[in-house]
């Protein structure tokens, strides 16, 4: 037996592994510490959302959308509810639109904070993790004040919002907005500015612009590869055309930019919320919609900018109270396609870091 040949090691990471966010599993082929091939295996959290939707009425399906990307549940509600409204031709009150914007952008901040935290944690930056989670807690509190739950908020209805925020919501929101610049500085100081973190993330896992377009990548991952595209600007849904904000774009194409672009997005979200709080009108929060939701025969495709990418709902209605086909376009499911391509040739530690920068939530990936 010759000993000058090394054997390939097949390592099964997940579904129960500390750094596989949720129930992701990948079979990693290793040459020493270097990754030669990755085979992602999905479906450990598959609940058959699309099949479930076919036996639920339109309103009954709203709580299910919370369980898609459970870190930004208002966004999922929003995408679904707007798709149905588009199909039915419902106009919703101004105040409800503004409240949706506020909650949507709060969800974006919360989701990005979790992304920053988990990226830090996947590289053993324990303190950065708890800093980001500490600040996200305040958003959860605001959810709780309004909707009663902290994670799966279920705050939107077809035709408006489920609840008016209580009085103590507004001061809490204001103090949160005031504290955000300081928070971001803290994250930068403890994690992104760190020499080791930069060494781990910079120039690692390059996803070029062409690759990103070819692989149907969306969201912050796409924008970190230098593509200036955001549905909020390109095809403004809701009332995003009334707000003044920038779409942060970075051209590093690497893990570092994929993570730090989320800090830039938090800054822009803060701007949007500030404008929304300034301009919000009074009035009702629910439109007059029939008790039984019965959209006309037809089909609709609606996409929104989820914190993790573009979330789309394709609804085919046959005129009954239940959708004939409901298709969810999960952003991270499609973004995940880049992992085997990008991570090849890097060390096993980089694979963990690259996976973290994709910010995959398995509730959305597995549906």
């Amino acid at each position: 037996m010759s000993i000058d040949k090394t054997q390939e090691l097949v390592l099964n990471m997940g579904p129960q592994h500390p750094s596989m966010h949720g129930l992701f599993r990948m079979v990693v082929h290793l040459e020493g510490e270097t990754v030669t091939h990755i085979d992602p295996k999905l479906g450990y959290l598959h609940r058959g959302m699309e099949k479930l939707a076919e036996s639920r009425t339109y309103s009954q399906f709203i709580p299910y959308t919370d369980r898609l990307d459970y870190l930004a549940s208002p966004h999922n509600n929003w995408a679904y509810v707007q798709a149905v409204e588009k199909l039915m031709g419902v106009e919703i009150p101004e105040r409800a639109e503004y409240l949706r914007i506020i909650f949507g952008e709060l969800a974006r901040i919360a989701s990005h904070q979790v992304c920053i935290a988990s990226t830090a944690l996947d590289m053993a930056g324990w303190s950065a993790w708890s800093y980001a989670f500490r600040d996200r807690e305040r958003i959860c509190d605001m959810y709780e004040m309004t909707a009663g739950s902290r994670l799966t908020v279920n705050i939107m209805r077809i035709g408006g919002m489920s609840a008016e925020p209580p009085e103590e919501f507004w001061p809490a929101l204001q103090s949160f907005l005031d504290d955000t610049p300081e928070m971001l500085e803290e994250y930068y100081g403890i994690f992104f500015g760190n020499e080791i973190a930069m060494g781990r993330l910079k120039n690692v896992g390059i996803l070029t612009k062409e690759m990103a377009e070819n692989l149907s990548i969306t969201g912050p991952v796409l924008r970190a590869s230098g593509v200036d595209f955001d549905v909020r600007k390109a095809e403004p849904y809701s009332i995003y055309d009334r707000f003044d904000f920038k779409v942060p774009v970075r051209t590093g194409c690497d893990s570092y930019d994929r993570t730090i672009i989320r800090m830039d997005e938090i800054v822009e979200s803060i701007k949007i919320i500030k404008q929304a709080v300034r301009d919000i009108p009074g009035g009702p929060i629910m439109a007059k919609v029939p008790k039984v939701i019965k959209p006309p025969v037809g089909e609709v495709y609606h996409r929104v900018e989820n914190p993790k990418g573009e979330l789309g709902f394709y609804i085919v209605s046959d005129g009954t109270t239940k959708p004939s086909r409901l298709r969810i376009r999960p952003a991270t499911f499609i973004n995940l396609q880049m992992l085997p391509i990008v991570a090849k040739g890097w060390k096993i530690q980089d694979v963990v870091a690259i996976f973290a920068t994709l910010d995959a939530v398995l509730g959305e990936v597995d549906k």
Binding site: L42, G43, H46, G48, E50, K51, K86, L87, E213, N214, L215, S216, I217, L222, V227, F229, A234, E235, G298, E299, V300, Y301, R303, E310, G312, Y314, V316, R325, R327, R329, F333, I334, L336, Q337, D366, K367
Partner: protein, 162 residues
């Protein structure tokens, strides 16, 4: 404006492939037979001025007597949207894979295969993605019978050595 321009190109393309153009809530829908799909996708990708060069989504739909594979095309350089529907035979659901046009179709086609049993010719790795490999049936087909709750509640007996 954009839609008008797009509509002209889509009409031209439809004429080439015997497609039908419809409009649904402001989005152009192009319905074609399955064998023409690659030609349509390539054509849409190369529309001048309004290229639909980004595969946004791909999914199967069960229409009763036939399947449809629905491609949601968009672009990163403009707001244009185009929905392409390929009609696939129910008895023998085979269609060309779009992975050669967009690599991003990989998982989406695997999902459509998993849920509808639509076979994508030329796909590099056409395996089930959500369900386990020896799962029987295609769950999102309308004729798929979900087991009643009584059956589901029976605890599965554990096979020795499993």
């Amino acid at each position: 404006m954009e839609n008008k321009k797009l509509s002209r190109y889509v009409d031209e393309l439809a004429a080439r492939v015997n497609g039908v153009v419809e409009e649904s809530l402001g989005v152009l829908v192009l319905k074609v037979q399955a064998p023409y799909i690659i030609e349509v996708l390539r054509g849409a990708k190369e529309f001048p001025f309004v290229p639909c060069d980004f595969l946004h989504d791909l999914c199967g739909v069960d229409c009763g007597d036939h399947f449809e594979v629905v491609y949601q095309l968009s672009s990163l350089h403009g707001p244009q949207l185009l929905r392409v529907k390929a009609i696939v035979d129910r008895e023998n659901p085979v269609i060309d894979s779009a992975t050669h046009v967009w690599e991003g179709a990989n998982y989406l086609e695997r999902e459509a295969y998993d849920m509808f049993g639509i076979k994508f010719k030329g796909h590099p790795n056409l395996k089930r993605i959500y369900m386990w490999d020896d799962f029987e049936g295609y769950p999102l087909r309308k004729d798929y019978v979900t087991e009643p709750i009584e059956v589901r509640n029976i605890v599965r007996t554990r096979i020795e050595g499993e």
